[in-house]
């Protein structure tokens, strides 16, 4: 039996984990600002610190190295701006060309403010070569940043090697691990990692939760000034319920990572081969093996991504064109562009992303509706006869 709808957009956001909801609701029902000194405050603070310790254990770092934020974007902004601002004598930033906008845009902005930005190229599979990083490292580099795994095409980066190269050169290294956590083994203690961003809602915690793992000896300038919470690096009232829920979700993500990866990569591979069977001209973007277990990114030449999305939505399949949207307008993907995918091919791209609640029935539904959808979409984008005046 097929479900009514197949949700295959877990990389955008995923189903809340029931245990995380429980943790949130329990904490939210109690009064108390974790910074207050009375009993209610202490109880709330205890919850925050126990959560911090749990997350630190899960990521192999120290509790004081976990800084809670409102999500991945804030964590990335804090790391990028904070680490660069802390080293005014270093004027260069190394940044991969395929970063999420949460990194890309603050880096570009710092570029506008006078920093020199070296964009790190990727190969056709979306991989940054550690040697290109190594070749550009020098003592005038304030920050090198490369995401752990790409949100669009799912390519996993050689983070350990890049981090080590940065450590050898004495350059701070930030990695956006938002997509990696729960799907890959994420170890915050890898030599050379200065900071690591994670987001709650990609792993079953509520939206509005996240953290920056920041090495204790890192010099950083705060972005948000105020009450001095989070080692004075990120001021703002502790979100005890959100933090509690985040800790539950991180624990679940890390504990179940190996099994989860095995299960969804099997579904992923099945979906990929089914798509290629239905559409032999389709191109799977990204890396064959170094790929997020839940990511399927495909270009359908001769189709428009937004048409495919609309038709699939009507047919009960929820996926994404993979690129950032403002006002619902899909932008040309900077990731595919950096990989050298032709713009005409890139336009017909879709991202299916699997998660904790994905099932065989979801895959079956895609396979069932895809032939009709592709048929229609290719007709809708065939060049029309233009009347000229």
């Amino acid at each position: 039996m097929q479900p009514d709808r197949a949700y295959l957009d877990h990389a955008a956001t995923t189903t809340l984990l029931p245990e995380a909801v429980d943790a949130w609701a329990q904490a939210a029902s109690r009064v108390g600002n974790p910074s207050s000194l009375h009993s209610a405050g202490r109880a709330a603070r205890r919850l925050v610190e126990e959560s911090r310790e749990a997350i630190a254990d899960d990521l192999h770092v120290r509790p004081s190295e976990v800084i809670f934020t409102s999500g991945g974007t804030e964590a990335d902004n804090l790391a990028v701006k904070g680490l660069v601002w802390a080293q005014p004598d270093r004027g260069r930033i190394l940044c991969s060309a395929i970063e999420h906008h949460a990194v890309l845009d603050p880096v570009s902005w710092l570029g506008d403010q006078g920093c020199k930005v070296d964009w790190l190229t990727v190969d056709e599979f979306g991989r940054v070569d550690p040697e290109t990083v190594r070749a550009r490292l020098s003592d005038d580099v304030a920050l090198c940043t490369v995401m752990w795994a790409n949100n669009e095409v799912g390519t996993v980066q050689p983070i350990a090697e890049i981090a080590r190269a940065c450590e050898e050169a004495g350059v701070p290294f930030h990695t956006d691990a938002v997509q990696a956590l729960g799907q890959l083994r994420v170890d915050g203690s890898l030599p050379g990692i200065t900071s690591l961003a994670l987001s709650g809602h990609k792993i079953g915690a509520p939206v509005g939760t996240g953290a920056l793992v920041l090495r204790r000896d890192a010099r950083i300038v705060p972005v948000t000034h105020g009450g001095g919470q989070e080692r004075d690096v990120r001021s703002g009232t502790f979100d005890a319920p959100g933090i509690a829920a985040l800790a539950v979700a991180v624990r679940h993500a890390v504990d179940h990572q190996a099994l989860h990866a095995e299960e969804i990569s099997a579904l992923r591979d099945e979906l990929i081969s089914a798509i290629l069977q239905v559409a032999p001209t389709a191109v799977v973007n990204g890396h064959v093996s170094e790929r997020l277990p839940g990511n399927v990114h495909v270009s359908f030449p001769g189709c428009e991504g937004d048409t495919l999305l609309m038709l699939l939505d009507a047919a009960g399949v929820e996926c994404s064109t993979g690129s950032a949207c403002t006002a619902g307008v899909p932008e040309p993907s900077h990731v595919l562009e950096a990989m050298g995918v032709a713009p005409a091919v890139a336009r017909g791209s879709l991202r299916f992303s699997l998660g904790r609640t994905s099932t065989q029935a979801d895959i079956d539904r895609v396979v069932e509706v895809l032939p009709g959808v592709l048929d229609r979409a290719s007709r809708a984008s065939s060049p029309r006869v233009r009347r000229t005046r």
């Binding site: 845009d105 006002a327 307008v329 233009r386 005046r389």
Partner: protein, 354 residues
Amino acid sequence: MRVIAALSGGVDSAVAAARAVDAGHEVVGVHLALSRSRSTTGTSKGCCSIADSQDARRVADVLDIPYYVWDLSEDFARDVIEDFVEAYRDGLTPNPCLRCNETIKFAAVLDRALALDYDAVCTGHYARIVPGADGSELHRAVDPTKDQSYVLSVLTQDQIAATLLPLGDSLKSQVRAEAAERGLRVADKPDSHDICFIPDGDTSGWLRERLGDQPGEIVDAATGEVLGQHTGAFAYTIGQRRGLDLREPAASGARRYVVDIDPVERRVWVGAEDLLAATVIEARDPIWCGPAPGSGTRAWVQIRAHGEAMPAQLDIDDGVTAHLDSPARGVAPGQAMAMYDGTRVVGSATIVRR
């Protein structure tokens, strides 16, 4: 019917879509992204278009219909904006709204809709589509102040047959009231007047950015005397009186108007009002909204979006020549000449230089 409702984010398209839903159609709302709203560095610009798309989304929410954005920015850049610049470069006066209807809304969008198994496109234009003996007919709107049949006069009968215009029988005031009753927050949104891709309304400044300064002479059409200089003929329109900035008044003391523009010599000809009068209008590439009329047909012609209809006799071959009963002023090459039989739109053709 399965209907694609174009939602601009304004009040008219919102009420049109609502009426299509009420009529029992299966409606999907589509906002047309006609210009790119975000630069690659991530700095927001063109916030108007983002706000409009947000408004369109909220309309779809209230109507409980699906909502998508179709990116037609490439088509729009090529078929409307480029065409607009080219026309000015050639000394013509284009109508981009009409071109957008011809190439985007009722062509690119309609083609896509039909290919996606939809039956029609619904818009908030003020004009009526009524069944006639020879198929669907396009007519003027009931509200004479809002009538948009002129900018729709480029539609063929096939396009008209696959179009819903639910507002043609209503007054604008009724549409606003209905939007408010339906809880559509766009009810009191101001009407759009300017050319959508020139949000500040400075058309000649916008053209100057693209065409650069193209200095030339302003010449008296009667005497051939050079009266002044200009920095771009594209800043002038036939019939224009203001902003000529001539040093000396005409000897007769009469007002002077732009009477012709020569893009090759970059010359702007000015002269007395009577030089603007024309009793014969030649136009090319006619598009007929139904069966083509026979040569010698009597019709009403309209030569600009908010102009009056004038009685004429049409000589039709490859093009159309209109012999007006009484002279018209300010016939601008590049504008469309729409032809009417009473309220029915017969077709249109592009006015050429004489």
